[in-house]
Amino acid sequence: MFQVISQIKAKVVFVLMFVLISPPLWAGLTIEISEGYDNAIPIAVVPFGFEQQAGGNSQGGNTPANKAAPVDLAQVISANLRRSGQFKPLLNSSLPSQPSNVDDIIFRQWRSLDVDNMLIGKLVDQGGGFYQVDMRFMDVLRKKQVLGKRWNKVPKENLRQIAHQISDLIYEELTGVRGAFNTQIAYVTLRKKNKKRHYTLEVADSDGFNAQAILKSTQPIMSPSWSPDGQKLAYVSFENGRSEVFVQSLDGAYRHKMASFKGINSAPSWSPDGKKLALTLSKNGSADIYTMDIKSRKLKRLTKKWSIETEAIWAPNGRSLFFNSDRRGQPQIFQVFLDTLEIRRVTFEGRYNANPEISPNGRYLAMVHGQGGFNIGLLDLHTDEFNVLTDTFLDESPSFAPNGEMILYAMNRKGKGQLAVVAIDGNTSQILKVKNGEVREPAWGPFLTNK
C-alpha cells in the first residue's frame, strides 16, 4: 500500500493549475481532443428545431421566438461524435441550410459537402419543463431515413442524456458498436485549498458534464469501482488514517465500510454478478487477493504468498481473476481460477506490468506497462499480441468504456494529474481536465440503460 501511496505522491508533487478553456459552470471536466482518426467521416448534425407546442400549457406565455432551447442537443451530439475521433461533424457555419423536417432536406446540398449522413431533429417545449425530442437520422447518399425516434415528456435536466442516447444510436448505426456516450465516469479530484489537500470522488457524464461529488475528503480517496448495475461505487478511503474499503450508493442512500482489516484494505473490484468484491488484504501478513461476499462479508483467500498480490479484477465470466504480483521479482499479471485456485502467469512483455483491466468482452487486458516510462499496454488474450497504446507520461489506472472501444486512464502532464482516453487501436485520444485541480483514479461506468 505504501508503494501505491508513494506513487501517487510522486505524481501529485509540483502541480501547477492552468486552465486553458473556461469551462461551463456545471462542467466537472474539460475534454480536449488531442488526436483523431485521419479518416474521420464527415457528418452533418443540424441544430434541432425548437418549437413551442401549439396549445401547450406553457407558462408565462412566452412566444417561441423569444425562447431559446434549454439545451443545444445538436451541439452535445456533435461533441460526442467528434470526441469519438471517428466522425468529423460539420461546423454550423458551413451548413447550407438547417432543415428540421425530412421534407425540407435538399439532398443535393448535402451531397456536395461530401456528407454521408445528417441528423436533423426537433425539440418541442411541451410545457411544465417537459420536452419532446424528435430525431431523424438521414442517409444523404441513399436519400432515406435510417433512424427516427421520438421521446416524449423529457424533463429538462434529462435532455443531455437524450442527446447522449441519440449519439449512441448514431454511433451504433454507423459503426455497429454500441455507443458509450450515455455513460458516466468516476474519478478523484485533488484541489489544494489553503495548503490543504481536498480529495473529491466525483461522478460525471462521459462528456465530463453533470459532475457530482460523491465523497469529499482531505485524505486520499482511491480505486473507485462501479457496481455492474451502475448504482454503487466501491472505493478505498484513507479518511480514518488508514486504508478502508467502502461501498456507497450513488443516490446517497447508504455507505458501507466493507473492509477495515489490519494492514492494507485496497483495490476493490465488483464481480460481474455484483454479489462479491475482490479485495487486496494484508491481514495475514503480505498482501493477498481475497473475495468477499457482499451480503455475508465472508472472505475467501485466493493467494497465499509472501509476495505482494494486489489489484485484482474479475474476468467477465466471473470464473477467474487477474491480478498483479511481484512473486517473480517484478510485477507481472497473473490469473487465478476460482474453482481450483490454480494460478498462471499472463504477461511476459517487459519487466513491469501492473494494474490490469479486462475489456467487457474478455478479449483485451489493459495494464500499466513499465518500459522506461509507464504507459498503457494492451494485451490481446486471443492472439497474445501486445501493444503500447499511449505515449503520455506516468500513465496509470486504465479503465475500459463499457463498449470496450476506449480506455480511460490517468496520466501526468506538466506535472499535473489528468485523465485521458485512448481508443483500443491507439488511433484517437482526448484529455479530460478539471478546473483548478488535478484528476486521477478514473473508472468508466457501465451502460446506464439496458439495451
Binding site: N39, D139, R142, L174, T175, G176, V177, D425
Partner: protein, 343 residues
C-alpha cells in the same frame, strides 16, 4: 526336223555337206572308170564330144542324164547288133535276166574262160581273140556299164529320188525353213505385232496409266484444291472466329477493366467508421443509368464477416462513386453490374 535344223545349223550344214560329198564321191567313183569308157566312147562315138565336154563341165548328175540318152542309143545299137547275134545275146540276156545272181560268177567264169581263151588265142589268134575279147569285153563292159548304168540309173533314180527327196527335203526344209522363217517371221511378225501391240498396249497402258495418273493427279489436285479451299475456308472461319474471339476477348477484357474501374472507384469511395474485418466480402449489384447514376444497389452473397455496417458502407460507397465510370466502348454499358466487393 526343221526344229532340229534350226537348233543345230552346224550339224545340218555338215550333214548336207556330207551328202554332197558323198554324192560327189559316188560320182567321182563312177567317173573314174567311165574315163576309159569315155575314151572308148570317144573312140567309138566321136559325134558326141560336146556331150563329153558337157559331162565334164556340168554336174555329175546331169552328166548321167546325158549318158542315159547315150546309153539308150547305144542300147539301140546293141539291140541292133544283137538282132544280128540274136541268139547269143538273147541267151545272154535271158541268162542275165534270169540269173542275175550268177552273172558275176558267170562273168568271172567267162572272164577266166576268156582269159583262158585269150591265153590260148593270145598265142594263137591274138587279134581275133582280142577283138572278140574286146568285143566281149566291150559287151561285158557294155553290159557292166549297162548294169552300172542301170545301177547308176537306179542309183541315179535313187539319187534322183534322193535328190528329189533331198530336194523335197530341202524344199521341205526350205519350205520348212521358209515356213520356219515364215513362221519365225510370222512369229517375229506376231512377236513384232505382239510387241507392237504390247508396246501399243504398254503405250496404251502407259498412256492409260499416265491418263490415270493424270486423272489421279487431277483428282488429287482437285482434292488438294478442295482441301486447300476447305482449309482456307476453315482458316478463314478460324481467323474470323479468332477475330471474333479476339474481339470478344478484347471486349471481355475491356468489360473487365470497365467493371474493375467501377469497383476501384467504389473502393476509393469506401469509408466507414466501423471496424470491418478484412475478410468481409459481398457482391454488389448496381443498377445504373447510362449517365452512370446509381438507381439501386443490392448487396448479395455476403460472407460471414460482412456486417450490417459493411453492407451499408459498401452501398454508400457505390452512391458516393456517382457518376460511375463510363465504359470504354459504348456497347459495353451494362445497366446491371455485379462485382465482388472487398474493401
Amino acid at each position: 526336223m526343221i526344229g532340229f535344223m534350226v537348233r543345230h545349223p552346224v550339224a545340218t550344214f555338215f550333214s548336207i555337206l556330207l551328202h554332197v560329198v558323198l554324192v560327189a564321191l559316188l560320182t567321182i567313183e563312177w567317173t573314174e572308170p567311165s574315163a576309159s569308157i569315155k575314151i572308148s566312147a570317144t573312140n567309138s562315138e566321136d559325134s558326141q564330144p560336146n556331150a563329153v565336154s558337157e559331162v565334164r563341165q556340168i554336174e555329175p548328175l546331169k552328166t548321167f542324164a546325158v549318158d542315159a540318152s547315150l546309153v539308150q542309143e547305144k542300147l539301140e545299137k546293141i539291140r541292133a547288133q544283137e538282132a544280128a547275134k540274136k541268139q547269143e545275146s538273147q541267151q545272154l540276156e535271158a541268162k542275165t535276166q534270169q540269173e542275175r545272181a550268177r552273172l558275176k560268177e558267170l562273168q568271172k567264169h567267162q572272164k577266166i574262160e576268156q582269159e583262158k581263151a585269150e591265153k590260148a588265142r593270145k598265142q594263137a589268134i591274138q587279134q581275133r581273140a582280142k577283138t572278140e575279147a574286146e568285143r566281149r569285153k566291150t559287151e561285158l563292159e557294155r553290159q557292166k556299164t549297162e548294169e552300172a548304168k542301170r545301177l547308176a540309173k537306179l542309183e541315179r533314180s535313187k539319187a534322183e529320188a534322193e535328190k528329189v527327196k533331198a530336194k523335197e527335203a530341202r524344199k521341205a526344209a526350205e519350205l520348212a525353213e521358209k515356213e520356219r522363217l515364215k513362221s519365225i517371221e510370222k512369229s517375229k511378225q506376231a512377236e513384232k505385232i505382239r510387241l507392237l501391240e504390247e508396246k501399243k498396249k504398254r503405250a496404251l497402258e502407259k498412256e492409260n496409266a499416265a491418263k490415270a495418273k493424270e486423272n489421279e493427279a487431277l483428282k488429287k489436285a482437285q482434292e488438294k484444291a478442295k482441301a486447300t479451299a476447305a482449309l482456307q475456308r476453315q482458316l478463314d472461319e478460324e481467323a474470323s472466329a479468332q477475330r471474333k474471339a479476339q474481339k470478344r476477348k478484347q471486349l471481355v477484357s475491356l468489360r473487365e477493366s470497365y467493371i474493375s474501374a467501377i469497383s476501384a472507384k467504389v473502393r476509393d469511395n469506401w469509408r466507414t467508421p466501423a471496424r470491418i474485418s478484412p475478410k468481409a466480402e459481398c457482391d454488389l449489384q448496381i443498377i445504373q443509368t447510362p449517365k452512370g447514376n446509381v438507381t439501386s444497389v443490392k448487396i448479395l452473397n455476403c460472407n460471414e464477416f460482412a456486417t450490417k455496417q459493411f453492407k451499408v458502407a459498401a452501398e454508400k460507397a457505390v452512391y458516393r462513386s456517382e457518376p460511375l465510370p463510363k465504359p470504354p466502348v459504348k456497347e459495353l454499358f451494362e445497366r446491371k453490374i455485379t462485382f465482388e466487393f472487398k474493401p
